[in-house]
């Protein structure tokens, strides 16, 4: 009998179980987001009429019973503009994100499946692209494209916004590509797109979801900044950003509503998207502090 058996096995101290703090569903953000989207979709019902209509008798009117949100320096009814313009902002947000997500998924999967040297080259390229400030590239491309429309802006934002998602997709694909079902599918003659759709996408979709939501936010913010600078949508195309391009003039006439109301809607939308995105990320695992 040696010392060990005498003392016996002392069970290793157990760490307290990992506390997974599931973040609560952000009800407030979801409800506000729903209301905003519904309001914009139902714009012709809520605020009938042409948002671009210039009521020259009522310019720069403060909010009153006739114009609940006031009018801008050109006599447009802001209440009407908000709901109609929101459609354009949302369209740009979703279309640009759709585009960037598709590019990211295809590029990321291709890189993940490719030979190591192709893969490292492709990833190096995204790193270079990622380091350039987006807004400058977008500004530059828009200056070259010339006349801006919601579609042109979405395309430009879309083609400059896929880098970080593609990196995540690539990492996931790299882990998945050796798994039996992918190999089996390949052996049975499944093509790249088939494997991507059937086997890879369902696996990495959940991990890029939050980035996709954040991309909607980025696209909407980018459009509004561009339009504000006068490089984005022209004044005639009402969006929340182009409404704010009148802000400089509003500052001179002290017309706070022209700045605060469209901006408030914009920030509310961006904030809701951030909340939803953060919730999707679900702040990984929460381990007790050793400190």
């Amino acid at each position: 009998m040696d010392d060990f058996t005498m003392v016996g096995i002392r069970p290793a101290e157990q760490r307290p179980p990992v506390r997974r703090a599931r973040r609560q569903r952000p009800w407030l953000a979801l409800v506000v987001l729903g209301l905003l989207v519904a309001g914009c979709l139902a714009a012709p019902l809520i605020a009938p009429g042409d948002p671009g209509y210039l009521d020259l008798l009522n310019t720069s009117k403060a909010p009153c019973s006739q114009f609940p949100f006031g009018t801008d320096a050109m006599g447009r009814d802001l209440f009407r503009c908000i709901w109609h313009g929101g459609r354009v902002s949302l369209f740009i947000g979703f279309f640009a994100t759709l585009l960037s997500t598709v590019i990211a998924v295809v590029y990321g999967s291709a890189s993940g499946i490719a030979a190591p040297w192709v893969d490292s080259g492709m990833m190096r390229l995204t790193e270079i692209l990622l380091s350039v400030p987006d807004l400058l590239v977008v500004l530059f491309l828009q200056a070259i494209w010339g006349k801006a429309s919601p579609v042109s802006i979405s395309v430009i934002i879309g083609v400059t916004g896929w880098y970080s998602i593609s990196k995540v997709v690539r990492t996931q694909v790299r882990q998945l590509r050796a798994s039996e079902y992918v190999v089996a599918s390949k052996a049975m003659g499944g093509g790249f797109l088939h494997i991507l759709r059937q086997h890879l996408a369902p696996n990495f979709l959940s991990s890029i979801m939050f980035m996709v939501v954040m991309n909607v936010r980025l696209a909407i913010a980018c459009e509004s900044t561009l339009s504000f600078l006068g490089m984005g949508l022209p004044l005639e195309t009402v969006s929340w950003g182009s409404m704010l391009s009148l802000a400089e003039r509003a500052l001179m006439t002290n017309a706070w509503w022209v700045i605060l109301i469209p901006g408030g809607f914009l920030v509310a939308l961006l904030l809701c998207l951030t909340e939803v995105g953060n919730w999707l990320r679900q702040s990984a695992s929460k381990v007790e502090s050793n400190l």
Binding site: I128, S131, V132, P133, D134, L135, L136, L139, F140, A143, I144, G146, R217, A221, S224, T225, F228, L229, G230, M231, L244, A247, L251, N254, W256, I259, L260, G263, L266, V267, L270, L271, L273, T274, E275, N278, V287, E288, S289, N290, L291
Partner: protein, 332 residues
């Protein structure tokens, strides 16, 4: 076995020059696709009154008639001699125009960068120190809200409050008329743009520091430090923070271009006479020579800062160096 430092820095330098070259070519060729006529930038309204022959002559004089490739090589040759041509819009050498403005941007961007760096470090440590406390939660909430506000709108609201309503601060420019040398006057003009630049970036980096620190305090060595009898402050500052710093510093190097990009927007909103407003004008007016130099200036900063970040990451952090050496030893 150590890697040869000359080979290391030589390789980085080669990458730098190659990237700059590729960038210059890319910008040059893409800029040619713009539909705006550069003659418009040079002659303004008069362009419309010019006959076809006059336009052709003007093009030949400005060297715009040659094929794009030739134009690019010509530009490259001049650039090597430090000549970047004249701005079509200002009718002055591009370097003179930029030289007058770049100081303003450096002051705004530099101050903004330093204050963001220090501020986010302090905020991040504070939040990590008081993890899950009311203060931490409050600051995190505030950060989420702030990060959802576009910079240009924040600028507008601040102008509305402090310039239009309260009339405390000036809303545009870098100094009042005739007071270019007055430091106090410049400082007053700098307050609002600076606040926007800082608020636009502070939270992101503070949040990053907080999360890195929170990961760090869950490492096993913290238990060892605690059993050694070190105080919370000693562990956090002496060990945890030290471990996160290399990553943070390299990240901050990479963040320079982003803060620079933010400065450009802020400059435009506040009509601050810096490089940002200049590049915005150049893009609108198709002032090629100007656009070229400005894009290159931004691009070179970006590339340089990224390389710097990499070097800091690979050289300063002893853990990475040790790993590298082990790998070299293993591979022979």
């Amino acid at each position: 076995m150590k890697r040869n430092p000359f080979a290391y820095y030589g390789k980085k330098l080669a990458v730098f020059f190659l990237s700059v070259l590729v960038l210059s070519a890319a910008v040059f060729f893409v800029a040619q696709l713009a539909p705006t006529d550069p003659l418009l930038a040079y002659y303004g309204e008069r362009t419309e009154k010019m006959s076809v022959e006059e336009k052709a002559q003007a093009r030949a004089r400005l060297g715009l008639d040659a094929p794009v490739g030739v134009q690019y090589l010509r530009w490259l040759e001049n650039a090597a001699r430090g000549e970047f041509g004249i701005s079509y819009q200002y009718k002055q050498s591009v370097t003179t125009v930029i030289g007058k403005r770049i100081g303003n941007t450096l002051i705004l961007g530099g101050l903004g960068f330093v204050l963001t760096f220090v501020g986010s470090l302090l905020l991040g440590v504070l939040c990590a120190w008081k993890e899950d406390s009311l203060l931490d939660k409050l600051l995190c909430r505030l950060g989420t809200v702030m990060s959802a506000i576009p910079e240009f709108w924040l600028s507008l609201v601040l102008i509305l409050i402090f310039c239009v309503r309260l009339r405390w601060l000036p809303s545009s420019g870098a100094y009042s008329v005739g007071k270019a040398k007055d430091l106090a006057d410049r400082a007053v003009h700098l307050i609002l743009p600076l606040v926007v630049v800082i608020l636009g970036h502070l939270w992101y980096y503070a949040y990053l520091i907080r999360n890195r620190l929170l990961e760090e305090v869950r490492a096993d060595y913290v238990l060892l430090c605690k059993s050694k009898g070190l105080s919370k402050r000693q562990i956090l500052f002496g060990h945890c923070l030290r471990n996160t710093l290399p990553t943070y510093i390299s990240l901050m190097a990479i963040s320079v271009p982003h803060i620079l990009g933010g400065t450009y927007i802020v400059e435009t909103v506040f009509s601050y006479p810096g490089v940002g407003t200049l590049s915005y004008e150049a893009a609108r007016m198709a002032d090629y020579n100007m656009l070229m130099v400005l894009s290159m200036l931004t691009g070179v900063t970006v590339i340089f800062c990224n390389l710097l970040g990499q070097i800091i990451n690979e050289r300063i952090d002893p853990r990475i160096r040790a790993e590298e050496e082990r790998e070299v030893a293993r591979n022979g």
